[in-house]
Amino acid sequence: MDNNQLNNHRIILLRYALLQLHDEAVAEDAVQETLLAALQTGDSFRSESALRTWLIGILKHKIADHYRAAERHYSLGEPTSEDKDDPNAALEQLIFDGKGRWIGAPGAWNNPDHALEQDEFWGVFEWCQKNLSEPHARAFMLREMVGLETEEICLDMAISHSACRVYLHRARLGLRECLEQRWFTTKRTS
């Protein structure tokens, strides 16, 4: 394992740390310590994805250390209950009828890229994200913001592959619905 190989994973690790720590400097430190620890062991890995899983494992410990030091309540990687206990299972029933047809069919969004330039839009996006149930929001963030693969998300959240698929689907349904209602409805043209 060399520096270059580790650097490839740095960005992902940093985004992961930021998601948990909400402080850039602290996140940088945790990632730096993780990479150093990794360099010192000199283990070899059969694939880049095995290496990343291992790095994230170390990073989780560093993050937990940080919270322990700060004496704040913290839990990470707790097994999440599977679909039957999913608080947002009802979401799909609001969006699709019993025959799998749209109830709240997606409307046309007028010039969505324009929204990216408006500060107000980011506030709405944040609100919508907070409005998702916690495991859905987390799966979505790990996938789309951190950039993890679904297998890595399953491991991280200790959920099955099918639960992961359901969470991501529901997160997208929920976010889409929320953005449409809170942002695009007033701007809809058809």
Partner: protein, 58 residues
């Protein structure tokens, strides 16, 4: 025949893994007839773009 719900699942999956040719075919045929699912596809693509640019505030 796949429902809109099935197709929405496949469209969501396509953001996370490559679809099989059979799945791609089912999606393609469905999208020809269904503008709601076509919009869903565009809009979850947009969500991905938004998430990629999002920077949490302190």
């Amino acid at each position: 025949m796949k429902t809109c719900k099935d197709i929405s699942y496949l469209l969501s999956d396509s953001m996370d893994r490559p679809l099989t040719w059979r799945e791609r075919w089912a999606v393609r045929v469905h999208l020809l007839m269904c503008r709601h699912c076509s919009r869903f596809q565009q809009q979850i693509g947009f969500l991905s773009k938004v998430a990629g640019r999002y920077k949490p505030k302190d």
